[in-house]
Symmetry: C2
Subunit: 336 residues, 2 copies
DNA sequence: CTGAAAGCGCTAACAG
DNA sequence: CTGTTAGCGCTTTCAG
C-alpha cells in the first residue's frame, strides 16, 4: 500500500537529480526557475513531500518540541497547550506530548524518551528538573524552558508570572478588605509557584502585622482541597481564604456554599490564582491574580526560537500578573 | 556541546560491531549474554540511546501518533488527550499535536504536515476528513481513527458514544418531566455529534407528539451560546433547554440565572451532553449524558494497536453513554 | 551468534 | 545552477 514517493521518483520523472529536488524543497537554495517548474510539477503529480524524519537525520533538526506536562485537568494548561501548539505550528514546529507522573522520579524516564526523539527543545510545564537531568539536557545541547515553574539553575530558561508579587497583592487586598483571620489552602509545596505565591502572601500579611490563621496543603488536588476546606472550617473558621490556584478555589467555594451553607463573600472571602476562563463565570466570579497564559506562551516561543538559531544564553522571564477584582471577596470600603 | 553518542561509539568501546549494539536494543534479536553485557556496560557509560528517528527511517515505524484537534477549551478534550497520551506512552508511542482551525479547509494542510512526520497513525478528534484526505491517508497506508466524530466512510475507523441514543434519552426524560416547550441550543451543524444528538432528541419529542419549541445554533462557542440564550428567552421562553454540550450548557445556565433571573430547574430545566468534570460540581449540578472519555480512549488505542500490527480492517465503534440525573432539570413525578 | 555490507530518504559539500 | 559523491544513525540481510 504505502507506495512511498521519494525524491528519487520525483527526480526521475522531472529528469533531474535528487539534489535538484532537494533544493526545490529547501528554502533559500538556488534553483533555476525552469528546474523548479519541472520538479514541482513532478512532485505534485506524484504527491511527493519530503520526509521530515530523514531530513532531520542530516540537518540535526527534528522540528519537534517535546512538552512535558503533569496534568491537563487544571484548565490553565490546556489553554496554554493550545496556544503553544498553534504558535509553534505557525513556525513549522510541532509539539510531542509527554505526560509526567507526579513523582519527580518519573521525569527522568520521560526526559530519556524525549531525547530519543531528538527533540529540538524541551518545554517542561508544571514540572521541575533534577540537577542531573538538567546536566543531561545541557550535554545534549537541548534548550529547556520551564513553563510556569522557576528553578535556580542558570542553565535553565524559565517563563513564569510574578507569583511573589501576585501573592503579595492578594494579601494586601484581603487585609485592606478588613479580614483578620486569613487562611491558606496551599497547593503542592514542591512547586515554585506555590512557594512564591505563599511567600508573597505571607509577606503581605506580615507587613500588616498579621499571620496566617490556618494553612492546609491540598497538592493542587480537588478532592484534597474539598477535604481541606471542611477541616479548616470545622472550628474557628477564617474570614477569608487564599486558595493556591483557581482550580482548587472552585472546589473550595462549592464546599463553602453548598455543604457548609456559607455565603461568599459575606461570610467568607475567597481568592484564587491563575484567572482561568471559569473564574469569570458568574457562578464563581472569582477574585484572582491573572497569569497571562497567552503572553507567557509568546515569550516561551520567542525565547525558544532565539535559542534555537543563535546560541543565546538561557533566560529567566517573569511576567507581571494583575489582580482581577471580582465578587468572591469583600472589597475595601471606599473611605476616600 | 551535543556530543552525540552513536551506536558506533558504543560498539568501539565494547569491542563489538555496530550490528551487535543494534541487536541489544532490538527486542527479540539474538545476542549472547556475554555480548549483551559488554554492550550495555558501554552504552550506560556513554549514555547511549538509539535514535528513534534514524530507526524509523529503516523500520518504517516512527512510533509517533498524530493527533489533530480543533479546540482544547471544552474540557472533554483535555481529559481525553491526557488519557490518550498516557496510554499511548505506556505502549511506546507518543502524540504529536496538530491544532486544526475550524475550517474544513485547514484540515488538508494539517494532514499533509502530519504525513511529513511519517506518523504511524492519525487520530482526528472533533474534526472530519474530506473524501480526498481520506484517500490520501489510505494511499499512504496510515490508519485514521475519528475520535468523537462519525463519518460514513468504510476506510475510516471511528470511536463515538451513542449520540442518537443519548439525545433520545434526554428527550424522553424531559418529556416525562412534564415539559411542553422544549428548546435546543445546538452546536455546529457540521458535526456528527450535533446531528446525532439532535436526531435522537427530535425522535424522542416526536414519539411524544412534540416538536422543538425553538432552536438556535451556537457552534459550540460560549459567546454565541450566551447570545442564543438571550434570544431564545426574549419572548415565549421554553420550559426546558437541551444544550448540545456541557461546555455551552454552563454558559447557558449562567445567563439564565444571573442575567435573566430564572431559577434552574424551577423556572426552566437545562440538560447538556458530555458529563465533563464540571457538570458534577454543585454550582451547576447538570443533568447530562455521559460520554465515557476513558473508555473511548481505551477503545481508540486498542483499535489503533490492532490495526498497526496486523491489517485489521477499519472499525466503527459506538459506546453507550448513560444519562446522568442531577439537579438542573425537573424529574418526572413518581406516580408509581 | 556475529560482523560486513547495503541502504532507509534525505541534504551538503564539491566540482563542473 | 546542477549533478556526483558522501554520509546522517540505524537496522537488516547475508555469509561465516
Amino acid at each position: 500500500m504505502g507506495a512511498r514517493v521519494t525524491a528519487q521518483h520525483v527526480a526521475d520523472r522531472a529528469g533531474v537529480s535528487r539534489s535538484a529536488v532537494s533544493r526545490v524543497f529547501t528554502p533559500g537554495a538556488s534553483v533555476s526557475g525552469r528546474t523548479e517548474q519541472k520538479v514541482r510539477a513532478a512532485a505534485d503529480a506524484l504527491g511527493y513531500r519530503p520526509n521530515v524524519l530523514a531530513r532531520s537525520l542530516i540537518t540535526g533538526q527534528s522540528r519537534i518540541i517535546g512538552l512535558m506536562v503533569a496534568y491537563l485537568d487544571n484548565l490553565f494548561y490546556p489553554e496554554a497547550l493550545e496556544e503553544l501548539s498553534r504558535s509553534l505550528q505557525a513556525r513549522g514546529y510541532h509539539v510531542l506530548v509527554f505526560m509526567a507522573g507526579n513523582k519527580a522520579e518519573d521525569a527522568s524516564g520521560i526526559i530519556e524518551e524525549l531525547l530519543d526523539y531528538q527533540v529540538d527543545a524541551i518545554i517542561a510545564a508544571s514540572v521541575s528538573l533534577s540537577n542531573d537531568l538538567t546536566t543531561r539536557c545541557a550535554a545534549a545541547g537541548i534548550p529547556v524552558v520551564l513553563f510556569n515553574r522557576g528553578q535556580d539553575d542558570g542553565r535553565l530558561s524559565s517563563v513564569t508570572s510574578d507569583n511573589v508579587a501576585g501573592g503579595r497583592a492578594l494579601a494586601d487586598f484581603l487585609v485592606a478588605g478588613g479580614h483578620r483571620k486569613i487562611g491558606h489552602i496551599a497547593g503542592w509545596d514542591g512547586a515554585s509557584t506555590q512557594r512564591d505565591r505563599e511567600a508573597g502572601f505571607r509577606a503581605g500579611l506580615h507587613a500588616a502585622g498579621q499571620t496566617l490563621h490556618a494553612r492546609i496543603a491540598a497538592d493542587f488536588d480537588l478532592t484534597k482541597a474539598r477535604q481541606a476546606t471542611r477541616e479548616m472550617f470545622r472550628a474557628d473558621p477564617p474570614d477569608a481564604v487564599f486558595v493556591a490556584n483557581d482550580h482548587m478555589a472552585f472546589a473550595v467555594m462549592d464546599v463553602l456554599r453548598f455543604e457548609l451553607g456559607l455565603r461568599v463573600p459575606d461570610d467568607v472571602s475567597v481568592v484564587g490564582y491563575d484567572d482561568v476562563a471559569i473564574a469569570s463565570w458568574p457562578a464563581y466570579d472569582l477574585t484572582t491574580v491573572r497569569q497571562p497564559a497567552r503572553q507567557m506562551v509568546r515569550r516561551t516561543v520567542d525565547l525558544l526560537m532565539a535559542r534555537l538559531d543563535g546560541d543565546r544564553p538561557p533566560e529567566q522571564i517573569t511576567i507581571p500578573g494583575p489582580l482581577r477584582l471580582r465578587g468572591s471577596a469583600k472589597r475595601p470600603k471606599d473611605d476616600a
